[in-house]
Amino acid sequence: MNGRAGGNGPGPRDTLPRSSAPAPEPAPCANGPVRRVIRIVNPYGLHQRVADKFSRTARAFSCTVTVWNGTAKANGKDIMDLIMLIVLPDSEVVLEVDGPDAPKAVDPLAAILASPGGEDYTI
């Protein structure tokens, strides 16, 4: 994940997220990256369980998966990167997927981020 300076949406792509996960290098999507703006309605934000589910799902696709919180970004396939993004409840993130299967990946990944949780909020 990169710095946390203010700003909106994806910044320049000249820096890569610090991640221990192997960096996939899929062929770029013919139409460029697919992006979605998503509001986090889960009352606990992008917490560990959501990050776990999201990163597991992301790893099933060959496309790169990036989640932006302002100008900070995370490798969506790396749970630690996602936790370091500190996505608070009621904030907006940008989901960016890039690669041959990006159109197939974007809906299930967006659904995880947009989910209200449906979970036991007492734990």
Partner: protein, 169 residues
Amino acid sequence: MRLCNFIVRDAIIPALSVPAPQTDARDPAAVPAVKEAVVRQMVQALHMAGHFRAEDVDEIVKAVLKREQLGTTGIGRHIAIPHSRHPAVDRLIGTMALSRDGLPFDSLDGEPVYVFVLLVSPQDRPGDHLRALEAVVRTMRNDDFVRQLRACQTGDDIWALLEGAAPGW
């Protein structure tokens, strides 16, 4: 946020008394008993350090274990962050424990866990909880820090390391 902002110094456990399975430190069959023993020792340590009532201990242990059932908090790199929200605390607190042998914890990477950070947070402070998780992950991604941490022999050694750690750790 830094680890020393929420780790309770007197609750640090430099060597858990939970034995590793004799056969295999990755043995999945050993995970439930190990999780209960680790969580109980850590919650008990927080209680002994003056946090929450004795009658809350069992309930907090159950809550943390219930959270584990929803998905492991063994996030890889030999680290686990068991946690729960509970009304017994009015601010986020945590403790740290080391295992000398490594324990099976159903980690995402299948590896045994040597460093545990247990968090208990109030129901209504999601931001503090997220910032604490970030602080743990950011710190534990530093291999030098983890190496120094695992070499610590006492709670005071661990505390000195946490206090001396640069904010970037």
